[in-house]
Every structure is written in structure tokens, then in C-alpha cells.
Subunit: 196 residues, 2 copies
DNA sequence: TGATCCGCAGACAGACCTGTCTACTGTGAG
DNA sequence: CTCACAGTAGACAGGTCTGTCTGCGGATCA
């Protein structure tokens, strides 16, 4: 069977799709198991056979978002060749992201807001943030910045702040501010000789 | 153990203190009414006579944090005279804030993450963010920036991002990055003649 | 044909949630 | 003293939560 769009996806896939929709839009704490299985059209036993607990389902949900976000970013970066444009592509991509009708902020920021410390949510969040930071540092290095790690920390602030503002102010236009801010910081971090 | 036995504070005060402690550290959704009244040493009827509902208690909790934060910022600003230093004082103050052992991110960001849209939490959040934005714009104007509103939006990004990173990465040192980033953006926004 | 397995449907347990209500206690005003 | 009233203690209602368990239908394979 080479068909990718089967009429019946596996319970695991349907559960993850339901989690992606309900957890992301309404919150991990506020959405209960019953609504997940109803939305997925799956038996409760299937959920507990597949994931074992709600917390593990949340972890799987966050991991799936982690993968999607990294795909989105690496695709945006890969579409450019000039190192400076590749770095700024991360912030360009926020324009479309924030404008999506189903955008509702950073899934990790929201999920970790009320998650117990030291749990699976915190683990998934740490992994995610480490990868974002590494991507920014790598692109900063390729752009010829003397201290890529330092610029990556600054840009990570801007990236986070923009995502948070876009949700809390319900204002997608903050993406333009974010992009301009990133550019200003990149310019300030470049040695004068390299600015062109 | 309920931490009371002080000179009799009113039920309202004790409830707000309990809310400030429990809601802030563990989350608005995860902490129930029973834990609030137990921690406050107050009868359940007193809570409902005073606030009417949990949502109203949450609103009062957020308003009290709003007041405390604005006090902290205006005090930090008032301690300086030079306009540039007054603007940067907002970011200087993050150093102490993030280092506090009870720091746990922005109460508004956490509370709004899973709050229903259009509710009291959203209202309180909008008001809070508007005031922060206005403060930044006013300080930017006093610093002689040509477009204070534009710089205020950038600095708000940085302020938000730093608060979020400090919580999610459990890393208070991000305050220094935030301060340096704000300074770089301020410099970039000033007309060359005014930079000194 | 029969055996095995996957998944669905839903009852159930035990805990917790918000919010209401009754009954009691201490205190201050007139 | 009497009365009003603010506050306490806690039962209660009605619902939701996570997680377990049983029973059943359909598919697959020897």
C-alpha cells in the first residue's frame, strides 16, 4: 500500500492529530482525555495502550510540534543562499506563522507555564529550545559574526518575545518588528568592515 | 501550615496573598479553590462573598501583580536622571527580578496561556501590556528617539523574550543579554548626531 | 474452522473541581 | 443585654478528571 492518505489512520496518528488541535488551541490543562478520544474517534483503552498516560501524550504532542517547527525553519533557511539572508529567514518565517488563523503562540511556552517542574514537558521544552538556540548560533557563525553564541542569545530573545507578543496582543504585525530588530542586532554584531 | 497569626489581616488580603503565592508558582489552572482557602486560613464562603468567583479572584491577583510590577519599574526609573539611563533602568531591573528565588516568569503570560479568550484574564493582560508599552514609549521619547513608538515595540519584544527565557531556561543571566540588547537597539534608533 | 489480536464502546472507581448552603461563633453598636 | 453581622467550618450537589477493566466485533492467519 503506497497510498499516503488512507481513509483510516492508526489510532496513534489520530490521537496525535487531536492533541495537536485541542491541546494547542485550548491548553494542555483545560482539555481532558475524554475530549481527545472523542475528537480522535478512538477508544480510551487505545490511548492508554499507546501512550500510557496523559503526560506521555503531551510529550508526544510537543515532540511532533518540535519536528514541525524545525522543518519549517530549516526549509525557510534552505530557500536562501546568502548567509545573512539565511539567518534573517528565521524571522521572515514568522510573518506567515503569525498570520495563520490557527496560530496560538508557542506550544512549549504555553504547556510549560503550568507544568510541574522536572516533568516530561520540561524535558521536551529544554530539548526544543536547545535546538533553536543551536540553529541560530550556526547561522550567526555562517554570517561571519565574531561571537555567534552571544548573537544567538539575543536573537532567541527576540524570537521568543515576538511569538509571545503575537499571541498576547493578537497582533501578527509584530513579525515585522521582530525581523527589523533581528536585522539591527545582526548589524550591530558585525565588525564594521563586514557591514555592506 | 498556613502562614498567618500576624496582626489580623482581612480575608481579602489573606486570599490575595495566598493567590499570589499559589497561582503564581503552580499555575492558575492547577491550583484549586480549596488550596487557596486553606493557605489563606479563610472560609470558602468568605472567598465567594468577597470575589464572587474564581475568575474574579484570578483577575484581582493579576491586578495586584500589575500594580507591583509598575511600582518596581517606576521606582527603578525614578532612581536615574539621565534619559538614556532611565530607559535602560527597565532592563537593569530584570537582573534582580530574575535572580529572585521565587521568580517564575510573567504571571500574565502564564495565566493567559490557557485562559479562555475574551475573559477577565485577557482583559487584565491587555491593560497590563498597554501600560508597559506606554512606559517604554514615554521613556524612549524622553531619550530623544525619533520614533518612540517603534522603539517601544522592539524593546517590548526584548522585555518579554527575556522574561520568558529566564523562566523556561531557568537562567537568570539572560538579564544581562536583555540589557545589552536594549542598549544596542537604543543606539541603533538614535540619530547619529545624538549618540554620545 | 478456530485462535489470536487490535481496536471500539462504555461502565466504573476514586479523586478533585467550583459553587451553594446551613449552622455556629465572636464582636461591636446601640 | 440584644441584635446585627462578619467570618468559620464543613456538608453537599453536580460535574469533570485520569486511569482501569470488561465485553464485543471484525480482521488475519494457520
Amino acid at each position: 500500500m503506497a497510498t499516503t492518505a488512507q481513509p483510516k489512520r492508526s489510532p496513534r496518528e489520530r490521537l496525535l492529530a487531536a492533541a495537536n488541535e485541542l491541546f494547542y488551541h485550548e491548553g494542555v490543562q483545560t482539555v481532558g482525555i475524554d475530549r481527545i478520544i472523542e475528537h480522535a474517534g478512538v477508544a480510551k483503552a487505545s490511548l492508554y495502550n499507546t501512550f500510557g498516560s496523559k503526560e506521555e501524550l503531551v510529550r508526544a504532542y510537543l515532540e511532533s510540534r518540535h519536528g514541525k517547527t524545525m522543518d519549517r525553519l530549516t526549509r525557510a533557511v534552505a530557500a536562501r543562499t546568502e548567509p545573512r539572508a539565511r539567518l534573517l529567514a528565521v524571522f521572515d518565517s514568522q510573518t506567515d506563522l503569525f498570520a495563520r488563523p490557527d496560530f496560538h503562540g508557542c506550544a512549549f511556552a504555553s504547556a510549560s507555564a503550568e507544568a510541574p517542574r522536572g516533568g516530561l514537558v520540561e524535558q521536551a521544552t529544554d530539548t526544543y529550545r536547545g535546538e533553536i538556540r543551536a540553529l541560530l548560533a550556526e547561522l550567526a557563525a555562517q554570517a561571519g559574526v565574531p561571537d555567534p553564541a552571544a548573537l544567538a542569545r539575543q536573537l532567541h530573545l527576540v524570537y521568543d518575545g515576538a511569538t509571545l507578543s503575537a499571541r498576547m496582543d493578537r497582533d501578527p504585525s509584530v513579525a515585522a518588528v521582530s525581523r527589523a530588530t533581528a536585522e539591527a542586532l545582526l548589524d550591530a554584531a558585525l565588525p564594521p568592515a563586514r557591514r555592506d
